[in-house]
Amino acid sequence: MLRDSLTFIDRGLRHSVRSVDALLVAVVLPVVVLLLFVYVFGGAITVGTQYLDYVVPGIIVLCAGYGAAGTSVGVNTDMTTGVIDRFRSLPIAASAVLAGHVVASVARNVVSTSLVLVVALLIGFRPAGGPIAWLGVAGVLLLFMTGISWLAACFGLLARRPETAGAFSFVVMFLPYLSSAFVPTGTMPAALRGIADNQPVTPVIETLRGLMLGGPVGDHGTRALLWCTGFVVVGVVGAAFLFRRRTAP
C-alpha cells in the first residue's frame, strides 16, 4: 500500500507540474490576489495594523482552496476516463490513487504558500512570531491543507463529471470571504458575523494571524485544530466510503 501510494504520489506530482493552467491557478493566482488586496482594496480598509500584515494569513488560506480544486477534478477524471479500471484490474489497493492526488495537492499548496510569503516579505510583510510560532503555522497549515484536499477528493468522487467537480473550488473560495480573512468580523452585519465567527476558516486564520504576528491566539487555536482534524477524519473516511461505493464490483 505504501509503495503503491508513493508511485501514485510521483504521478500526482508530475501531473501537477505539467497541467499548466491548474498550476497557474494554484501558484500564481494567490500572489495576484495578494497584490490585489494589498494595493487595490487595502487602502480603503482599516484594521488597526498595516493591512498587509492583516491579510497575509487570509490569502494563504484562500489559496489552499485553489490548490485543492485541482484535486477534485483530478480524482474525478481518473474515475470517469477508464483509468481507474486499469488500476482496479491490478492486484493492488486502487484507493492508493487517492493518496497520490491528496499529497500532490498539499505539495502544490506548500509551493504556493511559500511563494505568497516570499512576495509578502518583499513588499513589506513584517511577521513577529519566533521559530516555535512558525512551526505552529506550518503545522496548522499542513493539517488544514490535508483536510481540504481529502474533502476535495470526496467531492471528486461524488461528482459525475470533471466540470462539476471543479465547482468545489467555488465553495472553498467562498468561505474565506465570509470570514475574518479580509476584514474583521466585527465590521459585518450581525447575521453575517454569526456565520463568519462560527465557520471553520475564521479560527484557522485567527490562529495563523496570532502566530505570525505574535499576538494572542486564544481559543482559536483549539477550534482550528478541532476543525482541521475533523476535516481530515471526515475527508479520509468519506473518501474511503465513496471510493468503495463508486468502484463496487
Binding site: R14, G82, V83, F87, S89, I92, P249
Partner: protein
Amino acid sequence: MTYTIEAVGLLKSYRGHTVLKALDLGIRQGEVFALLGPNGAGKTTAVRILATLLRPDGGTARVAGHDVVTAARQVRAAISLTGQYAAVDELLTGRESLVMMAKLRRLGRREARRRADDLLERFDLTDARDRRVATYSGGMRRRLDLAAGLVSRPRVLFLDEPTTGLDPRSRREVWAAVVDLARSGVTVLLTTQYLEEADHLADRIAVLDHGRVVAEGTAAELKARAGTGTIELFFPDAPTLDLASTTTSGLVDHEKLSLRVPGDGSAHAVRELLNLMVRNGIHVDRLDLHRPTLDEVFLSLTDRALEGV
C-alpha cells in the same frame, strides 16, 4: 479439458434491464477468442465480470484457475485489461506511463525501466518515448495502452474493443501487435463489433446478441453456416446475359451484365457451370468467386442491423 477462461451461466442486469442471459464461455490456453456482437450485446459487461471489475448477479467464472468473485486478487495477478477507451495518462510521457505500471506490478526501479524500454521498442514507440501521451496519435495511444497491459507478462489478456475509433492504418498497427502477442502464447479474449477484426485475429469466435452466445466456432465454421457462396459470371452484352439467365437460376445484374449462381467455388463447380454455358453457345467474359463473409453470418444470426458500423 480445463479452460483458462471459463464462464458458466453468467447473469447480469442493470435496473431491470438484462444484459447477460446465462452466458457460457470456454477459452483454452493460448487461444485468441473474439466476442463479436453489436453495441449493447453485453460484450463489455462480460469482459468486466471476467476482469473482476463487476460482480455477476448469477453464474460463476474462473480465470487462470481462480474464481473471479472469491479470488479476485489472484485473478488480477494473472490478467491484464485494456479497456474500450485508451486509459493512458495524457500528462505523462509514454515511458513514464510504462514505468509507473511496472512499479504497480512490483517491479524494481531498474527492472521497471528496462521493461518499459523493451515494450516501447516492441510497440514501435521508442522515438516517442519521452513525449507526452497528449501528443500521440490514436494508434500510438492504443499501442501504449496495450504495452501498459503487458508489463507483467500476463497469462490472460482482455482487450475490449481494441480498435474502436481508430483509422484503418492505426487498426492495422494494433492488429499486428495483437498477432504478435498471440504468438507468445498468451490467452487473449477480445471483443469487437468488426467482423473483419474477429476474422483476422481470432482462432475462435462467439457471436453475442442480447446477452447470450448465438453461435460459436472458427471463422470458417461460422462462414460455412452462411451457405456456400456464389460464382458470378460476366457477359459481353445484355442479350447474352438474358440467354444465360434462361439456362440456370441465379441473380441477374443488368448494370454489371452479370449473373450470380450459387456455388462453393470448387474447380468442379466452376467447370460444370462453364461447360453448361459452352453447350448453350454462350460466351462468358470472365468470372468472380464470392466467398461467404462473416457479415452474412452475423446478419443471419443477429436480428439487428449493425448500426453505426
